[in-house]
């Protein structure tokens, strides 16, 4: 098992090197002059030139690249030009915000989508099957900013049940002591239930927005995969041996149906983590997606590179985790490790 993990991590190194090179070149190839942007609209030509020199952008590309990789090797992601903060610090602060939101959204989504998919598959053509179909179609066809805005309009503006969509915590609360960076968990560790409640109430609407969107692929995949497994020979054998429906569905069908669902889950998770800029915008969420997009717009190289690299590492780890999970569920995969 450990050798397999080691091997997999080693195989990831070339792709990470590739990511470093490609993001470096792509950010350089983007139109826009960061020195001019940083100097401001009123700056003179000399001032821009001076800033360029200071940032090292006058050097040849290859030298810039070596300096960049050298910094990376020392754990230095560079400094954002727009905020003046080191990129590593910013990502460290923002990644947990995105992770907390995405995880909660996904958990909500899984707890609804998987039972829905299983029920729809075991009763094809019934009302629950139609419900599954309608929910998933609606969920996937409504853009997230729209569902987000509707939720804010209804629950904050009309009903007043939820707090203002302004970030991770109400202004009256301070963040719990940093342990994992996830406020819910940190608040529980600090036994600060007031903060927990506040963080949760801030999370509910954006998490629900994500959940509605990610419901569709998970429920769909669960249903399709369950239908295929339920029609298979070994489920017929299980039925013919008189096993109870719950054993047949849970032990025999569901575990086998889980494999494609897990793949879908990992895809949905990694997509949501970096790409839910719209949700972050609507709820003023200090997440990593909006950070990267803002940096990209202002030709701020360092945060973009830092973001892409972080996401690449996340993908590698996530895929590794999924593969291990696969091995736990399916002994046939374990063999090839």
């Amino acid at each position: 098992m450990l050798t397999m993990i080691g091997k997999r991590l080693m195989f990831a190194i070339p792709s990470l090197i590739g990511v470093v090179i490609v993001t470096f070149l792509l950010t350089r190839a983007l139109p826009g002059d960061p020195a001019a942007y940083f100097a401001g609209p009123a700056a003179s030509k000399e001032a821009i030139e001076q800033i360029r020199k200071k940032l090292g952008f006058d050097k040849p590309l290859i030298e810039q690249f070596f300096r960049y990789t050298n910094d990376l090797a020392h754990g230095d992601f560079g400094t954002s030009l727009t905020t003046g903060q080191p990129v590593a610090t910013e990502i460290r602060n923002r990644l947990p915000a995105s992770a907390e939101l995405t995880l909660l959204g996904l958990i909500v989504s899984i707890t609804i989508a998987i039972p829905l998919g299983v029920l729809a598959a075991t009763r094809p053509g019934s009302w629950i099957d139609h419900l599954c179909r309608v929910t998933t179609t609606a969920g996937v066809s409504l853009p997230v900013f729209f569902t987000g805005l509707v939720l804010v309009y209804v629950f904050y503006f009309r009903l007043g049940w939820s707090p203002a969509p302004l970030g991770r915590l109400d202004v009256f609360y301070s963040a719990p002591a940093h342990v994992s960076g996830l406020y819910l968990i940190d608040a529980l560790i600090a036994r600060d239930f007031e903060t927990f409640r506040s963080a949760l109430s801030q999370l509910i609407l954006p998490a629900a927005t994500l959940a509605i969107f990610s419901l569709a692929p998970i429920a769909r995949m669960t249903r399709a995969s369950m239908l295929a497994v339920l029609a298979s020979d070994f489920v017929r054998t299980a039925r013919a041996s008189g096993l109870s429906p719950s054993t047949v569905i849970v032990t025999y069908a569901f575990r086998n149906a889980m494999l494609p669902v897990i793949t879908t889950l990992s895809m949905v998770f990694s997509f949501l983590l970096g790409a839910n800029v719209l949700v972050e915008k609507v709820f003023a969420w200090p997440g990593i997606g909006s950070y990267a997009v803002e940096a990209l717009i202002s030709s701020d190289f360092a945060p973009v590179q830092g973001f892409v690299l972080t996401m690449a590492v996340m993908y590698v780890l996530l895929n590794l985790f999924i593969d291990i999970l696969y091995g736990v569920i399916d002994p046939r995969v374990r063999l090839e490790g």
Binding site: P124, F234, R239, S241, N256, E336
Partner: protein, 600 residues
């Protein structure tokens, strides 16, 4: 029968709701099974034999329902029983074993756990000794080292072993009735014998009743007390198995009996009476066919075949041409790394040279020839390397060493990728095992047949291509109006014809037939085999016929090569090898075939 039968199916009709309305899969069927009796249900695909057994256990799928009639199992009305009562019956009173044992087991659950699931459901033992019971069940089906096998997953076991596990699963709770649905289809003939003997031994010892559902008359005859013959959802004949083979009464039974390949008959004998007359009269079979069917009646079939085989060779029959074989295979070897994908990875990380033992020889230095107009059978059980050999001859697979010469030219050194562009590609064609899977589901029959012509042929233009397809369809006896259908709209036999038409479209010199009839019903198989024989005669092709079915090989091939574990154990004329086998393995293969009694 005076005693109350264990199972009494009376006037059973089963309906399926489909998109095209209600289909009656089984109509007014009466079957009874006495205690301790073994009943065979024989029929071809679509005869309703499996559906009937599913109805007995009430595991019909959603669309199916028992429309009329009754099923009584030792006093219980199966049709009226509640789902809970049925669940108690299934597995404890009536169990079932299925076709394709590997798929019938949960792939990601240990076999021991799967047996325990059944024991737990039917509360057959206390939780503490359930594991022991499961091991005991494995022991009963003669699985070596049951304690180890308990922890095995189905993919770690061979097909025959999986079927033993399925039997253990079915018999774990000592049921009164065992329904075996094609329990040995897809298994090798020696494994089939072992599995069937085991089933009979276990059921006899426990005084169980058995229903054996099969398409194989020989199997039913060898193992059943009584046989029910079904056709298109109806029972056409029920009799003692000795009687039914001696005096088949229904024409369908007679047709089935005729179509079953067996010793002492020729290919023509397999066809129903009326079709023999028909095919002899058909213009494309003029000459050779008449001669052969005439010869076939009097002479022994082998001599008839041997006489006619060289005769229709249309090639300029020069002396040297005759001496040079069409295909020459010498010391052919194919090696695989033993550990599969894992070994490849470890090779990347360790510098150690691969050890000799890591290599698995699928084909281990075999040599043989196929002459012009000759058909050679390549026989053996699964894993013996016969398919690997055919793939290498076909140049779909590169050999490890050895040479292959085709029509005087070395083709063994040509890489599989490069071979597709050479003129020889046209001359070697293949007919695949599964007529359904080997056709592109989105191509019409005509498109499938035209495919090789468009790739390699020199016929250009829509109309010319269409004309050629129609000509080929005529050759293989496929009605021209079926050419625009898609594979799912064709029957198994029609799909087989499309596959054959596709293979002969470019006038190949050698056709590799990879179990072309294994997926077909016997009556269809009889027709397809005759078609292949006629085509060979009229087009002067050679066949390399890969099969596990010795009876079929006997009918179609001039010479036979018997393979085992990558080596040739015996070869010679079909008559000699199958009539008077020298090698122990060949003898074993031959005795394992269940023979139906010859019709009088």
């Amino acid at each position: 029968m005076t005693a109350q039968p264990l199972l009494d199916v009376h006037d059973l009709t089963i309906e399926f709701t489909t998109r095209r309305g209600i289909v009656k899969a089984v109509q007014h069927v009466n079957i009874s099974v006495a205690k301790g009796e073994t009943l065979g249900i024989v029929g071809e695909s679509g005869s309703g034999k499996s559906v009937t057994s599913y109805a007995v256990m009430r595991i019909l799928d959603r669309a199916g329902r028992i429309a009329e009639g009754s099923v009584m199992f030792s006093g219980i009305d199966v049709k009226a029983a509640s789902e809970n009562e049925m669940r108690d019956l299934r597995g404890r009173e009536i169990s079932m074993i299925f076709q394709n044992p590997r798929a019938a087991l949960n792939p990601i659950r240990k076999v021991g756990d799967q047996i325990e699931d059944v024991l737990r459901q039917h509360v057959q033992s206390a939780a503490s000794d359930r594991g022991e019971k499961a091991i005991e069940a494995l022991e009963q089906v003669k699985i070596a080292r049951p304690r180890e096998r308990y922890h095995a997953y189905p993919f770690e076991l061979s097909g025959g072993m999986c079927q033993r596990v399925v039997i253990a699963l079915a018999l774990a709770c000592n049921p009164q009735l065992l329904i075996a649905d094609e329990p040995t289809t897809g298994l090798d003939v020696t494994t089939q014998k072992a599995v069937m003997d085991l089933i009979v031994e276990l059921t006899k010892r426990r005084h169980m009743s058995t229903i054996l559902i099969t398409h194989d008359l020989g199997l039913a005859a060898a193992y059943c007390d009584r046989v029910v013959v079904m056709e298109k959802g109806r029972v056409v004949e029920t009799a003692k198995s000795a009687d039914i083979f001696a005096r088949p009464e229904h024409p369908y039974t007679r047709k089935l009996m005729r179509a079953t390949p067996r010793i002492g008959v020729s290919l023509r004998d397999l066809l129903p009476e009326e079709e023999v007359a028909l095919s002899s009269a058909s213009p494309r079979l003029r000459g050779e066919a008449d001669a052969r069917s005439a010869a076939g009646e009097g002479d022994s079939p082998q001599t008839a075949l041997a006489e006619t085989a060289p005769h229709p060779d249309p090639l300029p029959a020069g002396g040297e041409r005759k001496q040079k074989p069409l295909l020459l295979v010498e010391k052919l070897v194919k090696e695989y790394p033993r550990q599969g994908a894992g070994a490849l990875l470890s090779k990347l990380f360790s510098r150690k040279p691969p050890v000799e033992a890591e290599v698995f020889r699928a084909v281990d230095g075999i040599s043989f020839t196929v002459g012009h107009g000759e058909s050679v059978g390549l026989v053996g059980e699964s894993g013996c390397g016969k398919s690997t050999t055919s793939m290498m001859v076909m140049r779909l697979l590169d050999q490890s060493s050895g040479r292959i010469a085709f029509d005087g030219e070395e083709i063994g050194a040509i890489l599989p990728q490069a071979f597709a562009r050479l003129p020889q590609r046209k001359s070697i064609q293949m007919v695949f095992q599964d007529p359904t899977d080997s056709l592109n589901p989105r191509f019409t029959a005509a498109r499938a047949i035209a495919d090789p012509i468009m790739q390699l042929g020199n016929i250009r233009g829509r109309d010319a291509l269409r004309a050629r397809c129609e000509e080929l369809a005529g050759l293989v006896g496929l009605p021209v109006n079926l050419l625009d259908r898609f594979p799912h709209q064709l029957s198994g036999g029609q799909k087989a014809r499309v596959g054959i038409a596709r293979a002969i479209a470019l006038h190949p010199k050698l056709v590799i037939l990879d179990e072309p009839t294994a997926a077909l019903d016997v009556s269809v198989q009889a027709i397809v085999l005759n078609l292949l024989q006629d085509l060979k005669a009229s087009m002067g092709m050679s066949y390399l016929f890969v099969s596990h079915d010795l009876n079929v090989v006997r009918l179609l091939c001039d010479r036979v090569i018997v393979m085992r574990a990558g080596r040739i154990v015996e070869h010679g004329s079909s008559e000699r090898v199958l009539g008077d086998p020298q090698d122990g393995y060949t003898k074993e293969l031959l005795t394992a075939i269940p023979h139906p009694p010859l019709p009088v």
